[in-house]
Every structure is written in structure tokens, then in C-alpha cells.
Symmetry: C2
Subunit: 206 residues, 2 copies
């Protein structure tokens, strides 16, 4: 059986659990919540020198880090990763953009407002630019979702699961003004209506 | 013929030009240097609402943004993108990590020290954390390159071209202490020795 090291409250980890649920793929879950010290243990660092989750461990011991690489790996050959050369490139494009423009604003602001060890960063000079960057990222999604039902076209792909990871809680956890992005809100509902959806609290307990 | 909108001095743009050179693929180059206003023109924003380069335009007008998505798209089916499922996943993993951990520290610090419109950011409270984060990223590469000749194994892939984009100038432009990372320095030489290498100044003038 595969093993997933994941942080229960993290969107990057949630993305992977969400795809595993949709694929009906059994896995052993090792929780690495923030502050638990799991990712800084010598055993974990030997597996991933970056000290980060999610981390996937295959049955034969091979390891794979980076949430979006795990999504593409597990989703390959399923309906979540398109076969068409150009459509797959659009999926990749959204996923790279997520790691460079969306996660660093939306996930980072949400984390500052959520975790007590980041309370010292709750200052306007930190929070205000993150709010503006996050709204800019949400506007990029809004513009696309005026044109297509899902980010890379008319069907749900790993790009949607990827972006759902932090967008679904951007309002509640990050303080972003979701009312400004009605197409994004409708897209959130479409992702949730896709078969096999699970909430972030689901850790593989089947 | 394909068209590449790219910024001559940018590592993200350079990555794509480097692969195009190696593939011997002719392209029309549209320069969008910082401060030129090209990426903020209505014509460009209609093509890419994110207002960023590199942007690839195919012969039939289809568009693709995000440097690493372009590398995977153009490299698919060539020696630069491995066919093996797991090895390709390792390539993806390095490329996502680059956008989330390497580019935001190494490229951002280099840009602040290079472009005059960012001179106001040349303050220790901005530059010092970026130096530390960049050194941490370089250490992750160093650790891998003690084990393998290239980032995803024993052969050069798009993951290496991707990471080469900003690492090759991290010392000169970003002020990072490359002497601390001898394996990274040897890897830079290996990437440069691979057939078809071109410097960042090459804009497709064949």
C-alpha cells in the first residue's frame, strides 16, 4: 500500500487526499500537522530533505514530493489528466501558476491568520500586500472561468483539484473577498459536485 | 512558425529559449524587456491576462503561458522529458519546487539588485531573508547533486534547464555565495557542456 505523509489542515496536502479519494486508492496516512515536529524528524528528513509534506511513499519505497507532481503522477491515465498534448499543457500551466502566484499569496495569508506561531506576522505591511496579490490571483481565475466551466476547459482536471486546495477556504481562512469573484464561487460548487468529493477533514478513513 | 514573447534578461524566458535552441526549433522572437510596456499593452493582455512572459503562440494562434509548462510541452517526446512514469514525476517535482521555493528567492533577489525600478527594495529587511531562502534552496540542489549527475537522475532533463535559468546567475546577479555549493557549480558546467547550449543573450538569431 502507498503511504501519504500529509498535514491535515494544509491545502497542498488536501489536494492529494482529494484525488486519492476520487480515485478510490487506499493509502496509509501519516499525519504531519504544523508544530508536530514530524517533518523535522531525522526519519522524515532522510525521506525528504526539503522537510515538507505532502510526501508520497510508494510500496517499493520510492518517494515523491511536491503536491502538484503527486497529482500528475497519480492522475496519469485517469480522467483527471487529459491525454491531449495542448490541453495537458494548459493543465500544467495552471498548476505552475498556482505554485508561483496563487499559493504564495492565498495560502501564505491564510496560514498567517490560522497558525499561532505566525501571529507575529499579523501586521498590515505583511497582510495588505498578500491581500492584494491574492485578489489579483483570484481575478485571473475569474477571467478564465467566465470562458470555461473548469480551468483548462470544459471538464474537471487535476488543475481544478490543485487550485481548489486553497481557494475553497480563501474567504474563511485568508480573509479574501470572495463576493468579488462570482465565477470562482460557482466553480467551487462545480468542483464539490464532482463525484467522490471529500472535505479537507478527510484523512483516508475508509 | 511559433512565436515566443520573452524577456531577454529573464531566467524564466531564458529557459524556454535554451530548450528551443537545443531542439533546433525556429521561432519568431518578440522581446518584452522589463520597462518596455510590452506585457501591459492591450494586444498582449488579450493574449495573456496575467501580463507575463514567456508566452508561446502556436502557428494556429493557441497560447501557452508559464515557462515550465512550455518546457514540458516543447520537450515532450524528446530526450529532455523522460518517458518513465516515475522519472517524469521527479522532473515535475523539481519544476514545481523551482516555482515555489527557488524562483521566489533567487530570481526575486536577483531582480531587486538588477532592475532600477526595484531599487527601493534594496533594504536588509527585504534582501537578507531572500539570501537565506535562496541559500536554503541551493542546499537542496547540492544535496541531490551529491547523489546524481543531474536533478532527476543521470541524464539532463527539462528540470535541469528549468533550474539552470536562474541558478547560473545566482552568484553574479543575486549575490548568493556559490562557493558553498560545489556540486551545484559542477552541475552548471555539465548543463553548459550539453549539446546546443546557448547563453542568456541568445534570442533566436539563426
Amino acid at each position: 500500500m502507498i503511504t501519504l505523509y500529509s498535514m491535515p489542515s494544509s491545502g497542498n496536502s488536501y489536494k492529494v487526499r482529494l484525488l486519492l479519494a476520487k480515485l478510490g486508492l487506499p493509502f496509509r496516512h501519516v499525519a504531519a500537522e504544523a508544530g508536530s515536529g514530524v517533518t523535522q524528524s531525522p526519519e522524515f528528513l532522510a525521506r525528504n530533505p526539503k522537510g515538507k509534506v505532502p510526501l508520497l511513499e510508494l510500496e517499493d519505497g520510492r518517494l515523491l514530493s511536491e503536491s502538484n507532481a503527486i497529482l500528475l503522477f497519480l492522475g496519469d491515465g485517469t480522467r483527471y489528466v487529459p491525454q491531449g498534448h495542448y490541453t495537458r499543457a494548459l493543465v500544467h500551466s495552471w498548476m505552475f501558476w498556482e505554485q508561483n502566484a496563487h499559493e504564495p499569496s492565498i495560502a501564505v495569508r491564510s496560514a498567517i491568520l490560522t497558525y499561532e506561531d505566525r501571529a507575529h506576522l499579523r501586521r498590515p505591511d505583511v497582510l495588505d500586500p498578500l491581500l492584494e496579490q491574492g485578489h489579483r490571483a483570484l481575478q485571473v481565475m475569474e477571467t478564465q472561468l467566465r470562458e470555461t466551466l473548469f480551468l483548462a476547459g470544459e471538464v474537471l482536471t487535476v488543475a481544478d483539484l490543485c487550485l481548489y486546495g486553497y481557494t475553497h477556504s480563501a474567504g474563511a481562512k485568508g480573509g479574501f473577498d470572495m463576493a468579488r469573484f462570482p465565477e470562482v464561487e460557482r466553480w467551487l460548487e462545480r468542483v464539490e459536485a464532482d463525484p467522490g468529493h471529500v472535505p479537507i477533514t478527510w484523512l483516508g478513513d475508509w
